[in-house]
């Protein structure tokens, strides 16, 4: 090609570029919610119930109000006239459930330990904190239900009294829409089980655990007569929060602006719901006509959010002697907590968990039932691996049990049953667009010599050392198409971006989502540099401000590289097309988009590379000198593009873990952890590696350490990091991330969204490895958390039996 000497390669897609965000973040220059200070800003502290279930007899705020510096103390009664009860339609999924109606500050009764009952607003945070201890609430205790199965029993105390029982949501998936179809399918599943060579049946239980963003939640609201409400919220979805505030406060749509701060210290799903605290702070700012800020304490955070998993799954699998998986049956019971959290209401997580049961394997039939119970605990909030951490643990453990029963290698059983023909619709109706699972699996197994490992394992056992190998695979949604997100969460799935070219050649990108550490500024700048042949440093990304960005449903469910980046790219292409049309006119040549190359900050006419302009000259001509234009063209360079993929996209992963267990103490060491990832084309491998490593560590931490504990009275006993232990660097093994990617055919750059569901395959791989190590003792792990002491007890029991 004649232009090859003049036009350089485009190096930016796939470049392991250091993150643009990191310099300010690691030098203490990040701008978090706690860094935003407004004149006359007041500070708010919530008074929260110390009972799990109780009627509020009275609330005495007099002593708190008397403290010098206290501006106001409000209770649920103060909201009655000015704030609508939740839920409002924008916060409701299109799923049939028994949604609780409630006030943002509890009025009649409290339903979990930590329910907000009052708010103290003071000139200083410490004054508010001290005065909050003087608010006296008189409670009348009610019977407490903390066990989801007990909550579903007839006669259990009903927690959400606007309904008859505690079942907030139930689902039966037996392969049909009508009752007749479902009965026929259930019968067909029964037949498969009756005729199968082997079946297994186990109860799998995963405790209440989830994610703990380093930065807790926060809200800062300001009110002005001219502009109405401006709300800074730590949130993954500012546009959805804005709609919720409009509805709940009954404010005209032109008078509400929500801004997610530029820097947020992690979200992982925890900042995706609309929280009741948001509307209380907004109401108070409007009422007091001054800025009010609430920054959550760690104690509050651990009591209110980041709690998830918490499911019991009674799973049965039928298989053939050759290791073919035939059918499964699952009865799940999930602990929802109160259900008082906007957008998700708790049950949306276990719902998706049930849908994702089939994982990466082919099944002929499935029969899935789910019941979700309201209990006197904090409502579960989304936490990366949304709903499917427990179901994937169950299915991956169960597959190993099938393999043991058949005397087959678990690796062989997995490979034999992987989905090979994509696109594929799973037995529960989930669509998998593309990918190559065999390539992914073989890449994983190439990281270890299994035959040699088995020899080593046998030799080690002779020496009294117990090593084992375990695997698990995973599928996760790469963003959610509107077809999935509208029914699930009542909102669109498209990605949205505005790309605006500055007359001097800089590129401004506005996105409707709100990252919390995903490195969007870096990835966007690489996508833009790839499109315009400019330098990533010349791109500025603005997200999170509903006043300046196009509508987006938020940074949730791995939408970044799938939807948002695709919208950015397509907007760049639209702008490039206009530049090319105008340059062709200026050069007096025939030609369009395909006839020009954008590289090295230049735009080059390929057929005659002497016809070229710098990118800056080109854009300056169009923006600043829109004269002598082609017919029908006007000046200016800006495009807003909404990207909707034609299909629901997914990405895949597989994990391999090797452990050594000390049979005398129950302690175990992870000797090797290697992953294989199919993430489509990668924009920045450094960011993707980080996503995977972080997710795997979070999965390990959930599996081994973290556990939210409630006592029988519903007292939450784990509200600090002494009692809620999360993994630290010393607890973390070396993790090798390897890639066997297939470009995604449905995105313009072949990228897939990654990272959301990634922790889900971790508990399966780890526990499978431990059970493999302990085969001589016949130990099967079916419950999490997995701690050395529980393993020691199992070992003691097994060794006593021998």
């Amino acid at each position: 090609m004649a232009s090859s000497e003049q036009v350089a390669e485009k190096p930016w897609l796939g470049a392991r570029m250091a993150r643009k965000e990191d310099l300010r973040l690691v030098t203490g220059k990040g701008q978090y919610i706690g860094d935003i200070v407004l004149p006359r800003m007041a500070h708010a502290v919530f008074v929260r119930s110390d009972y799990a279930h109780a009627r509020i007899r009275s609330i005495d705020t007099a002593a708190a109000l008397a403290v010098p510096g206290v501006i106001a103390v409000i209770t649920g009664q103060d909201l009655v006239d000015d704030v609508r009860t939740m839920p409002q339609p924008v916060l409701l999924p299109n799923l049939p459930a028994k949604y609780p109606t409630f006030s943002a500050l509890a009025i009649d009764k409290v339903k979990f330990h930590g329910t907000p009952v009052a708010l103290v607003i003071a000139r200083h945070k410490y004054i508010a904190e001290d005065a909050s201890e003087l608010v006296e609430v008189d409670y009348e205790e009610l019977p407490v239900v903390t066990d989801p199965e007990a909550a579903l029993e007839a006669g259990a105390p009903v927690i959400n009294e606007d309904h008859d029982d505690n079942e907030i949501f139930a689902m039966t998936f037996t392969g049909g829409e009508t009752e007749q179809e479902q009965i026929a399918n259930a019968k067909a599943v029964d037949e498969v089980f009756a005729n199968a060579d082997v079946t297994i049946k186990k109860r799998f239980r995963v405790h209440r655990t989830g994610l703990t963003p380093m930065e807790p939640r926060g809200v800062l609201c300001d009110w002005s007569e001219a502009d109405g409400l401006t709300a800074w919220i730590t949130t993954q979805r500012p546009h959805i929060d804005r709609l919720a505030l409009i509805d709940l406060l009954d404010i005209p749509a032109d008078k509400v602006r929500v801004i997610a701060p530029r820097d947020q210290g992690g979200g992982f799903g925890v900042k995706a719901p609309f929280f009741r605290e948001n509307v209380v702070i907004a109401h108070v700012a409007r009422k007091l006509r001054r800025p009010v800020r609430w920054v959550e304490s760690r104690h509050e955070s651990l009591m209110n959010v980041g709690q998830e998993r918490d499911q019991i799954n009674d799973l049965e699998i039928a298989a053939s002697n050759d290791g073919t998986l035939l059918a499964f049956r699952n009865h799940g019971v999930a602990d929802n907590g109160t259900g008082e959290t906007g957008v998700y209401w708790g049950f949306v997580m276990p719902f998706l968990g049930a849908v994702e049961l089939p994982n990466t394997y082919t099944w002929q039939k499935a029969d899935v039932h789910l019941r979700v119970a309201v209990t006197n605990k904090a409502c579960i909030t989304p936490s990366r691996a949304f709903g499917h951490f427990p179901t994937r643990f169950a299915i991956e453990r169960a597959i190993d049990m099938v393999a043991h029963k058949l005397g087959m290698e678990p690796a062989e059983v997995r490979r034999k049953n992987l989905i090979t023909e994509l696109p594929y619709t799973s037995v529960t109706g989930e669509f998998y667009d593309s990918g190559d699972l065999i390539k992914l699996w073989d890449n994983l197994m190439a990281q270890v010599d299994l035959k040699e490992f088995r020899t080593e394992q046998a030799a080690a056992r002779e020496e009294g050392r117990y090593i084992g190998i375990g695997y698990a695979t995973g599928v996760e949604l790469s963003g959610m198409a509107s077809e999935v997100l509208v029914p699930m969460e009542n909102q669109p799935g498209y990605g949205a971006a505005t790309v605006r070219i500055d007359p001097r050649g800089a590129v401004l990108v506005f996105g409707g989502d709100a990252p919390q550490g995903q490195g969007h500024e870096t990835s966007v700048s690489q996508v833009v540099a790839n499109a315009f042949g400019t330098n990533p440093k010349d791109t500025v990304t603005v997200e999170g401000d509903t006043g300046t960005t196009p509508f987006g449903s938020g940074t949730i469910g791995a939408r970044g590289a799938s939807y948002f980046m695709s919208a950015v790219h397509n907007a760049c292409v639209e702008i490039k097309q206009k530049i090319c049309r105008i340059l062709a006119h200026d050069f007096g040549v025939e030609g369009s988009y395909e006839d020009f190359e954008f590289a090295n900050s230049e735009v080059v006419y390929l057929a005659d590379p002497s016809l070229r302009k710098t990118f800056r000259q080109a854009v300056e001509r169009i923006i600043m000198h829109p004269i002598n234009m082609p017919v029908g063209e006007v000046g200016g360079l800006e495009a807003t593009v909404y990207f909707e993929a034609p299909e629901q996209m997914v990405c895949f992963n597989a994990d391999l873990c090797i452990v050594e267990v000390d049979i005398n103490s129950g302690e175990f060491d992870i000797l090797k952890w290697v992953s294989s990832e199919d993430v489509g084309n990668v924009i920045n491998p450094l960011i993707v590696d980080g996503q995977m490593q972080g997710a795997i560590v979070q999965g390990l931490s959930n599996t081994i350490f973290e556990e939210f504990i409630y006592d029988e009275q519903g007292q939450q006993l784990t509200a600090d990091f002494e009692n809620y232990k999360i993994a630290n660097a010393a607890d973390t093994p070396n993790i090798d991330i390897t890639y066997a990617s297939t470009p995604c055919p449905h995105t313009p750059l072949g990228t897939r969204g990654i990272g959301e569901g990634r922790p889900a395959s971790v508990p399966g791989a780890l526990t499978n490895a431990i059970c493999d190590a302990l085969i001589p003792f016949g130990i099967e792990i079916t419950e999490l958390p997995l701690r050395p002491d529980t393993l020691w007890e199992k070992l003691q029991a097994a060794r006593g039996d021998r």
Partner: protein
């Protein structure tokens, strides 16, 4: 929280039992007791200031004595509210046995603790409960032996 302990008190069983029902002895023995009033022979109410880890709280509440079989056993049930620090409810079964001229007192405490107190962690609560019980019996024994000396 559960606690099962026994302690040897160097006094005859009848004296120990009587002292345990003597509001003045109790007032002086209970660590941090600010106030203790008898509402009836079997109902007391009062205020205790207690420090558990970083939390210092004033608990207001009452106790009731029941299942009294003098001088060998009785049951104490009570609850206290400590404002922002939390609340507690307990049931204690007490058995007094004669033991070589002295008294062996066995007590089994079952407590439900709520609020911030509960979140300090079981280990800290257990340690504090044992410490407070220890202080109580030290005071109690000292009062009994003072009384002995007064008698002599």
């Amino acid at each position: 929280m559960e606690m099962n302990e026994e302690i040897r008190i160097n006094a005859p069983r009848e004296r120990v039992f009587a002292a345990l029902n003597d509001i003045e002895v109790l007032r002086q023995s209970i660590p941090g007791c600010e106030k203790l009033d008898a509402l009836s022979a079997t109902e007391y109410e009062g205020t205790i200031v207690s420090k558990v880890g970083p939390l210092k709280a004033r608990f207001t509440g009452g106790v009731t004595l029941s299942d009294i079989i003098a001088p060998q056993s009785y049951t104490l049930t009570g609850e206290g509210k400590g404002g922002p620090a939390g609340h507690a409810r307990m049931r204690t079964e007490i058995i007094l046995e004669e033991h070589e001229g002295a008294t062996l007192m066995k007590y089994a405490v079952k407590a439900e603790i709520g609020g911030k107190l509960a979140q300090l962690g079981g280990a800290l609560i257990d340690r504090t409960a044992k410490k407070l019980a220890g202080v109580f019996f030290k005071n109690f024994e000292a009062l009994l032996s003072d009384a002995d000396q007064t008698v002599e």
